[in-house]
Symmetry: C2
Subunit: 451 residues, 2 copies
């Protein structure tokens, strides 16, 4: 593979060093890389990305988009070698329009970068996966996080994109209007396409006004059942929850150990409500009433920003806290999402499967959306452990699909869930595949992912 | 064109009568049909639609999906003859899941049918274009209405679809989960594709809880400027408006005449706020304060359901009221949508263009979204009037695109905005076109629309 032309153009921003290539061969998941990219390039603009894609397309060289490397299904693995494009240097916040509450960012901006930049504007960007992911990566996997129950996923925030297509052509999708019916919705086709249709180089995002008042609460329950039923009832009576997160006793134990906190090691809900000062107080009380009917042990709430930040920092570190439970192990993360009426049954049956196994697996979930994760801790070289984890996930996905849910609420397909995609989506995968072929006939964009 | 095979299968639900074909040759807009379909079929199931599409695809016969016929850009015109498929008999509400707040409907169910069915459940479906459109048609054009500012457009309500593809293959998109990252988002590709990619035969919709309290208000202003600025300020301070509609003095006059009401014939806002009884009262007051700073003449509000229904019935009939201003004329409706910070300038410049013309054109708008319509009244046979209307719209679209908005917020491209699509979307139209070709290689689905 002669990449000298790119080397000449990109100079120090082109690397074939083994250390850099190794570093770009994997994400944060348990998936073991079987190969590494031939080179890593760090472009700074859409035009530079276009040069790379045009070059690669003419030579049928695979191209792998790489953001913060925090994906969980092997989305950034260079399965067939090729050129990894890292968006690190595309980290500019190009516009913030306060009046229209929107902004334009490059893909390498992380969610924390953006919120830091916005801190004095009264606006914020609500999508918060556990990791400090890049916004380009979040677009590619259709990410969400703890705020989805109120604000939706990244899909509801993106108003438009600039995308470099596989042949190097640069297109724009969407507009800065709040809605449009002008032609096919290419924005949403790109969102969640995991880098298989093009490289996203600019993102127009909606922003949201910071609420007048925020209150958070921590509620411990006698059992998981009670915690989940509380969520379902709260949503059904229309309580305007902004965040509602479940952590089982194993996950709480992991957090206590990792963050040196002293939460009761019981099934727990972390909740947050946004609104007017009076409204929030009223709603917190309503939530406590529902909790009491469902085996509440203790309810503690706060409206102090320092306390609030501490609580959500614990939640965002759940994945790293879980890993810290068994040093040296990796995390196999499940990601089903089901209609909320089936959530209790789905979690309880799954909990039984974990008990019947030898795997340690904290449960953490965006239960307001019907989405929860097991963090199955395993040694990827121990085939017995891998098989046991896979069996738990197989049964879990089968259960979620039976309940008319999905195998993945927010992590995507990558290389880890390709078999499930076919089971879940049936012959519609053929339509996806037709689209992929028409847009990327040489199959250069992130080959081997999704399909 | 030998359609006898279909006639045998569908019997009385297959028609070649000229009256029926004429009735299916046009929508509610000013666009003059240049041909009529060869036959109209009324299938009852996905399987029956599949038979028709398979038949048509093998013979390369055009197929035109037809809902309630209320489109505004000629979407249902049979430009090259062919088979029009009317969804009238596909009008079943197949599931309502109260606990999960979702439902499954066939495409011929209208928005009013659905809300009538839901009336005792505490749930409702918020998308309300002026006409009593079919939900299939609303999906096809990416419709919205007066509730968008709070609930989003139809695109945010659809969780999944059953679609018959051009070759007769039946696929399912989405799931009943609240979010999913499983493969390409075919749901949103189909929404707004105006029947050019397949025929939608089932729709999974989100529903919403009826609010505890609703208040509506009617506010008259000295000038348009003040009305629009009020909206912008209210949105910028984060007032949780559910509906905020602008009607200029000409539109108010039209409504007074059509509905025999006595609204002051001044630039007017119709607003609605949902929430808790106390919250709504507080917010109505805040809105009144903002209005007073912007030249409010009179503010009247009500929380009586009969009053509320009457007000919104007036608003929903704006199009028919406008037509009634000049009996015999047709309506050329514009549909730009711009970032809200540009809305005042966009409307005022447009108002000047209307004043400088000989056309009567009420303005009505979903101003909370930055979307507004001129209802340009004209005689489609009078080329001078048509040209004058087109000139106003050309200038309006050029203005909206300069402001980074869109030529169509909710009515779609159809046959009326094909030229604008290219200007607005540039080379991304080539990507749309590639997708169309890969999914419908024989170009049987609604040919001549969008592209």
């Amino acid at each position: 593979m002669d990449l000298s032309k790119l080397e000449k153009i990109f100079g120090e921003r082109f690397s074939t060093s083994e250390a850099i290539r190794l570093q770009h061969s994997h994400d944060e998941s348990w998936h073991v890389p079987k190969s590494i990219p031939d080179a890593v390039v760090f472009p700074q603009s859409s035009d530079e990305v276009s040069i790379i894609l045009n070059f690669a397309n003419e030579r049928k060289i695979p191209v792998i988009p790489f953001g913060a490397g925090t994906s969980l299904e092997g989305q950034v693995h260079a399965l067939k070698g090729g050129i990894t494009i890292n968006s690190l240097h595309m980290n500019k916040i190009k516009e913030v329009n306060l009046e229209d509450m929107d902004c334009k960012v490059q893909p390498g901006v992380t969610r924390e970068d953006l919120n830091l930049f916005l801190r004095d504007t009264g606006l914020f960007f609500p999508i918060d996966p556990g990791a400090n992911a890049s916004i380009g990566g979040m677009c590619s996997t259709g990410a969400s996080g703890t705020n989805t129950v109120k604000y939706g996923t990244i899909r509801q925030q993106v108003m438009g994109l600039k995308v470099v297509m596989p042949d190097g052509e640069i297109i724009k999708t969407g507009s800065r209007a709040r809605k449009s019916s002008a032609g096919y919705d290419l924005t949403h086709l790109m969102l969640g396409s995991e880098g298989t249709l093009g490289f996203i180089t600019e993102i127009n995002l909606r922003l949201h006004g910071r609420p007048d008042a925020i209150s958070t609460g921590v509620c411990n329950f006698n059992n998981l059942n009670g915690a989940v039923n509380t969520v379902i009832e709260a949503i059904q009576i229309g309580l305007p929850l902004s965040r509602i997160e479940l952590l089982d006793e194993v996950q709480i134990k992991a957090i206590n150990k990792y963050k040196n906190t002293k939460h009761d090691e019981k099934p727990t809900l972390f909740i947050e409500i946004h609104g007017s000062p009076l409204g929030v107080k009223e709603q917190i009380q309503q939530f406590e009433e529902i909790s009491k009917d469902n085996g509440l042990i203790k309810f503690e709430w706060s409206d102090q920003q320092a306390e609030i930040d501490k609580l959500w920092s614990s939640r965002h570190n759940a994945y790293y806290a879980a890993l810290n439970l068994c040093p040296g192990k990796k995390a196999f993360t499940t990601d089903v999402c089901v209609p909320i009426s089936s959530l209790t049954e789905c979690i309880l049956e799954t909990k039984k499967d974990i008990k019947n196994s030898n795997i340690i697996a904290p449960i953490v979930g965006h239960v307001g959306d019907g989405n929860f994760h097991l963090i199955l801790l395993l040694n990827p070289d121990d085939q017995k452990e891998v098989n046991e984890a896979k069996k738990i996930n197989d049964r879990l996905v089968e259960r979620a699909l039976r309940m008319k849910g999905t195998s993945t609420g927010e992590h995507g397909i990558g290389i880890g869930k390709k078999d499930f995609l076919k089971t879940e989506k049936g012959n519609s995968v053929d339509v996806m595949s037709q689209i992929k072929k028409s847009i990327d006939p040489n199959n250069i964009m992130n080959p081997g992912k999704i399909f």
